[in-house]
C-alpha cells in the first residue's frame, strides 16, 4: 500500500436542518485517481468543498500527508492553527467548475502570481516553471492572452496550469467540464488524462461516466450524503446495487 496523501474520516456536514454529508470516510493513496460520482444534490460537491477547506465540516477528521488539518477535540471539531493550515493548504490544489481565473491578469500572470506571492519564487523561476507547464498543456502561444480572449476549454486548462504551478501533491477537480460546451470537454479531459499518466494524485468530482471509467483507479458513488458504493471502475460498472446501476445506466445508454 502506498503512502496516503489525503484522508477524511467520519466527515459530517449540515446546512441548517439539511444533512448533506453523513459520516463519510475516504483515503487516497499517492498516484491514485479517484472519481466521485453521484446524482445532483448527493453531496459530492460539498464533500469536495469540505475536503479543500472552503467549507468547514461539522465533525470528522481531515488530514493531508498524515498532517491533521481537522480533528475531533473534547468539545467538537477543531481545526489546526493558521500556520499549520497554510502549510497543509500548499499540499493540494483545486480546479473549479467555472475556472475562477483572475480576469485582470494575463495567462502567464495567472500562473506565476501565486508561486511568486505565496511561495516567494523569483520571477525567473516562476516564469520558467509556468512556461514548462503551459507548454505541456498546449498553451504556450496563449501566455499573453487574457482569460476573456480564451475559449472555455482553454480557460480551464489555464486554471489547471495555475494549480500545477504550486506543485500540489493532490489535485481536486470540481466538475471540471460541466461549464463547457461538449466539444470543448475533450481538450480538458485529455489534459487530466495526461496528468494521470504522470501519476498525479487526483480526486475528481465528475459527470463524465465514460471518462471516470477509463481514467480512475477507483470510483466512489455518493447519494444522500453517504458513500453507497466504492470500487474499481469494473466493479462499479458491474455493480448489482440498483441505485448505482440506474444512475450509470442513465449516462451510458
Amino acid at each position: 500500500m502506498g503512502e496516503i496523501l489525503f484522508e477524511v474520516t467520519n466527515m459530517s456536514k449540515s446546512f441548517g436542518e439539511l444533512e448533506v454529508i453523513r459520516d463519510v470516510s475516504l483515503a487516497v493513496e499517492k498516484g491514485e485517481v479517484v472519481s466521485i460520482i453521484g446524482p445532483s444534490g448527493s453531496g459530492k460537491s460539498t464533500l469536495l468543498r469540505c475536503a479543500t477547506m472552503l467549507e468547514k465540516m461539522d465533525s470528522g477528521e481531515l488530514a493531508f500527508l498524515g498532517e491533521k488539518a481537522a480533528y475531533m477535540g473534547a468539545s467538537g471539531i477543531e481545526y489546526a492553527d493558521k500556520k499549520a493550515l497554510k502549510k497543509i493548504r500548499s499540499y493540494y490544489g483545486l480546479v473549479f467548475q467555472n475556472f475562477n481565473l483572475f480576469p485582470h491578469y494575463s495567462v502567464l500572470k495567472n500562473v506565476i502570481d501565486a508561486p511568486m506571492t505565496v511561495d516567494g519564487l523569483s520571477k525567473e523561476e516562476a516564469v520558467a516553471r509556468a512556461m514548462e507547464i503551459l507548454d505541456r498543456l498546449g498553451l504556450a502561444d496563449k501566455v499573453d492572452s487574457y482569460p476573456c480572449e480564451l475559449s472555455g476549454g482553454q480557460q480551464q486548462r489555464v486554471s489547471i496550469a495555475r494549480a500545477l504551478a504550486l506543485k500540489p501533491q493532490v489535485l481536486f477537480f470540481d466538475e471540471p467540464t460541466s461549464a463547457l460546451d461538449p466539444e470543448l470537454t475533450g481538450e480538458v479531459l485529455k489534459v487530466i488524462k495526461q496528468l494521470a499518466a504522470e501519476h498525479m494524485t487526483m480526486i475528481i468530482v465528475t459527470h463524465e461516466m465514460q471518462f471516470a471509467k477509463e481514467l480512475s483507479d477507483r470510483i466512489v458513488f455518493i447519494e444522500g450524503g453517504v458513500i453507497v458504493a466504492e470500487g474499481s471502475p469494473d466493479e462499479i460498472f458491474a455493480s448489482d446495487n440498483s441505485r448505482v446501476r440506474e444512475f450509470i445506466g442513465k449516462f451510458t445508454s
Partner: protein, 224 residues
C-alpha cells in the same frame, strides 16, 4: 453677438482677476478627493463589518451624510468649534471647514460605491485566491481591488463631476472660491455675465474631469 462678446470679455476678466478664486475651487476639489477616496474605503469596510456596533454606527453616519444638505453640513462643521467647544473661529478655519465637510460627505457616497463594487466580485475569486494560498490582504489588494476599480469608475466619475459643481457650496460660509467671487462681481457690475462665465468655468472643468476618467476607463479596457 454682443452677448457672446461680453461673456467672452467677462471670462477674460474672471480668468485674470479671479485666477485666485479659481484655484481655491480646484484646491477644494483636489483636497476633497485626496481625503474622501481613501476615507471612503475605510467607511466601506466599516459598513461591511460583521461587528454589529461598527456596522450600525457607520450606517447612521452614511444616513446623515446622505440625508441632510451638504450646505447645512458645511455650516455645522464651520460653527461647531464655537458652539460645542466655545473655541474662537479663525479665518483660516473657513477653508479647513470646507475640506472637512466635503471629505466626510463624499466619503459616505464613495463608501457605498466601493461597497457595491466589492460585493459585485464573484465569491469564486476569493475562493480561488484562498486555495492558492493568498493571504486576506493579498487577495484584497492584488485580486479584488483592481477589479473593483474597473467596475466603479463610471459611478466614481459621476460623483467626481458632482463634486466639481458642489465646490460652489463653499459660498455658504463665504470661502472665496469661484462662485462666491462671480456672485460678488455680478452684484457690483449689476450684470449676469460673471455668473455665466463661472458656469463656463465649471463646464470646462468637468469636461476635463470626464476626459481624464474616460482615459482611465480605456486603460482598463484590456479585460472583461
Amino acid at each position: 453677438m454682443e452677448a457672446v462678446k461680453s461673456l467672452f470679455e467677462s471670462m477674460i476678466y474672471l480668468a485674470t482677476h479671479l485666477s485666485e478664486a479659481m484655484l481655491v475651487s480646484v484646491e477644494i476639489f483636489l483636497l476633497t478627493l485626496l481625503f474622501a477616496l481613501p476615507l471612503g474605503l475605510l467607511v466601506a469596510f466599516g459598513r461591511m463589518s460583521k461587528n454589529p456596533i461598527i456596522c450600525t454606527v457607520v450606517k447612521i453616519y452614511i444616513a446623515i451624510m446622505r440625508g441632510t444638505p451638504l450646505m447645512l453640513q458645511l455650516i455645522v462643521v464651520y460653527f461647531a468649534p464655537f458652539f460645542v467647544f466655545g473655541m474662537k473661529i479663525t479665518q483660516s478655519y473657513r477653508f479647513i471647514a470646507v475640506i472637512i465637510a466635503f471629505s466626510i460627505n463624499y466619503a459616505a457616497y464613495f463608501a457605498e460605491i466601493y461597497r457595491a463594487g466589492i460585493q459585485s466580485i464573484p465569491v469564486g475569486q476569493y475562493e480561488a485566491a484562498h486555495i492558492l494560498g493568498y493571504s486576506k490582504a493579498q487577495t484584497f489588494f492584488k485580486i479584488i481591488m483592481p477589479q473593483v476599480v474597473k467596475r466603479i469608475l463610471p459611478p466614481v466619475t459621476n460623483e467626481t463631476i458632482t463634486l466639481v459643481k458642489d465646490t460652489s457650496l463653499a459660498f455658504a460660509i463665504a470661502v472665496a472660491e469661484m462662485f462666491t467671487k462671480a456672485k460678488e462681481l455680478s452684484a457690483s457690475q449689476a450684470s449676469i455675465t460673471p455668473l455665466m462665465a463661472a458656469g463656463v468655468f465649471y463646464f470646462i472643468f468637468n469636461y476635463l474631469v470626464a476626459f481624464i476618467m474616460e482615459r482611465f476607463e480605456k486603460a482598463l479596457d484590456y479585460y472583461r
